[in-house]
């Protein structure tokens, strides 16, 4: 079975948070912990690579939206990198991308 893991890579002079596996009620606390730690370190924006995430539902969205709200207080953005159809569809349905959550196909498209 695919195990869930989160890894932080320093790339293009910023931290890229790479999630691997399915984000649901069981695994979203791990994502929450990672994002909270980054927030505590005072990062100005999040880069979240979800290309290896094949499943996302409202629980994972809740964690991402919560972090986005906190970043929003300092005009920060959450950049999501994914081309996964299921993940794109969920973000689309949620309407969250109207706020400070931006979806990109490639890491190169994320502003530094």
């Amino acid at each position: 079975m695919s195990h869930f893991s989160i890894q932080i890579d320093h790339q293009n002079s910023q931290d890229v948070i790479r999630v691997h596996g399915e984000i649901d009620l069981h695994t979203c606390p791990d994502l929450h912990k990672t994002l909270s730690e980054q927030l505590a370190q005072g990062v100005a924006q999040f880069v979240l690579d979800l290309n290896q995430v094949h499943y996302l539902d409202s629980t994972g969205l809740g964690v991402i939206a919560h972090a986005a709200r906190q970043l929003g207080e300092k005009q920060g953005h959450v950049h999501i990198i994914t081309t996964q159809p299921q993940v794109l569809k969920i973000f689309d349905l949620s309407g969250l991308t109207k706020k400070n959550i931006i979806i990109h196909a490639n890491l190169a498209d994320v502003p530094a």
């Binding site: 079975m1 649901d24 009620l25 539902d57 409202s58 809740g62 939206a65 299921q86 569809k89 969920i90």
Partner: protein, 145 residues
């Protein structure tokens, strides 16, 4: 007319079993020849229903079981998710209830919205103190579609 085939699944109301439910339903839906996109939609709707039963139905210390039934109709998959938890008033404004929620609750109130938009039919029945039953239906898209 033969009665439709049924698959039943019962899991503890605990987060680590939602992925088991997704695996099982992906097998059922694949056998029915749903498209990959439809299978993904079905997995999300069913996960949302289980998530609600786990998060809202039971007190943290008194976890019960969640009963899931798949009814394989000729042209649709019916899914029934049932808990024996506290139930809720489905006619109340659910959003209003959300405003009192603790800041540590990340629920966006999107679960039932997703179920409604991803499924062809969804019907919720809840009795306070008895539990909640959610019925969902996903139609097999015809080849013309």
């Amino acid at each position: 007319m033969p009665s439709p085939q049924r698959v039943q699944l019962s899991i503890p109301a605990s987060a680590e079993f939602i992925s088991v439910v997704r695996l099982a339903v992906s097998g059922v839906a694949a056998r029915m020849n749903f498209t990959i996109e439809d299978i993904e939609d079905i997995k999300v709707a069913l996960s949302e229903a289980c998530t609600n039963a786990i998060q809202h139905a039971y007190q943290a210390d008194a976890k019960g079981q969640i009963e899931i039934e798949f009814i394989l109709h000729d042209a649709s998959l019916e899914m029934i998710v049932q808990d024996h938890g506290k139930g809720f008033n489905t006619t109340e404004n659910i959003k209003a209830e959300k405003s009192n929620s603790s800041p540590e609750d990340f629920g966006l109130g999107l679960g039932l919205v997703f179920i409604q938009s991803l499924m062809d039919e969804a019907e919720i029945n809840s009795i306070k103190g008895k539990g909640t039953t959610l019925k969902m239906l996903k139609n097999l898209s015809t080849h013309a579609a």
